[in-house]
Amino acid sequence: MMDELDRKIINVLQSGFPLSKEPYAEVAAQLEITEVELITRLQGLLENKTLSRFGPMYDAQKMGGSFSLVALQVPEEDFDAVADVVNSYSEVAHNYQRDHKFNMWYVIAAEAPGQIAEVNREIEQRTGLKVFNFPKLAEYYVGLQLPV
């Protein structure tokens, strides 16, 4: 399990990491540990999946990608069949069941805006359900910093 030092490392590294020649040494000094210890701990936290990744977080939309969040109201008895249809598209990156009238929410990532509409149209045709497309109109914050 995580100890106090792991927690400190996670909290510090969630907030950012320097762009410099020896960035681990810099962060290690701040934590009052050695560079080797920081790298070893970080490796362990990635291996045991406490951290899902460590590195630059790229904004794929700024790189030209298109994304949208899409919701469906799926009758309970059809849920798994509809999930299979939705998940069959490689453009569907994430799909979550949520406890609401709108009970299926998926994220589409595509190379062109037209592709999102195309996938949604096909999903409508194949499931007979109305698709509610929720593209972002403005972004106020993206980032995950959970105190541990």
Partner: protein, 178 residues
């Protein structure tokens, strides 16, 4: 979040006016770092060696990408399930359209909000235009966070709901550049 895109297709097509031009070397840097930063004393030297340019050039380009927002930040991303954050709620809010930018920014600064967006309404079935993801250990704790958002919005909140995830149906780990 991940995204499949062949190197040649990344991207010059203008979209929403905020695309940034990336050249081949930028793409190679992205390719070399999208899975993570090397866990070695001089990680940027390591990347530089892979690409065949100097470490200074890597640092300069990554700084530039960070300044223009292509790199949101360089950081550790926690696996919130592993850290005990099991109650993940999508909170949705009906706020006046003429105040949404002001209120959205305020909600985005709350430390427990991981994503905060303005999205369209679908009246009459869906009245909510502000979406904020919250992460908590339990639903009770999540609902306390929801009431903190409600307090912050004050009269700006005309209605809200919380949609907890009950099952992950799909979660892929895609590449930005393949």
């Amino acid at each position: 979040m991940s995204f499949v895109m062949a190197t040649s297709q990344v991207k010059q097509t203008p979209q929403s006016g905020h695309n940034v031009h990336l050249d081949d070397i930028d793409r190679k840097i992205i390719q070399a770092t999208q899975a993570g930063l090397p866990l070695v004393s001089r990680p940027y030297d390591d990347i530089a060696m892979q690409i065949g340019i100097s470490a200074d050039e890597v640092l300069k380009r990554m700084c530039k990408m960070q300044q223009c927002g292509i790199i949101r930040r360089i950081a550790a991303v926690p696996n919130h399930y592993a850290l005990g954050y099991k109650a993940n709620g999508m909170t949705v809010w009906d706020v006046p359209d003429d105040r949404i930018d002001e209120l959205g920014k305020q909600v985005g600064t709350l430390e427990f909000v991981s994503h905060c967006y303005h999205r369209p309404r679908y009246l009459p079935g869906w009245r909510y235009n502000l979406f904020a993801m919250v992460h908590a250990h339990t639903r009770e704790e999540a609902l306390q966070l929801v009431s903190r958002i409600a307090d912050l919005l004050g009269e700006g909140c005309r209605g809200h709901d919380v949609l907890f995830s009950t099952r992950i149906l799909k979660k892929t780990c895609m590449r930005l550049i393949s």
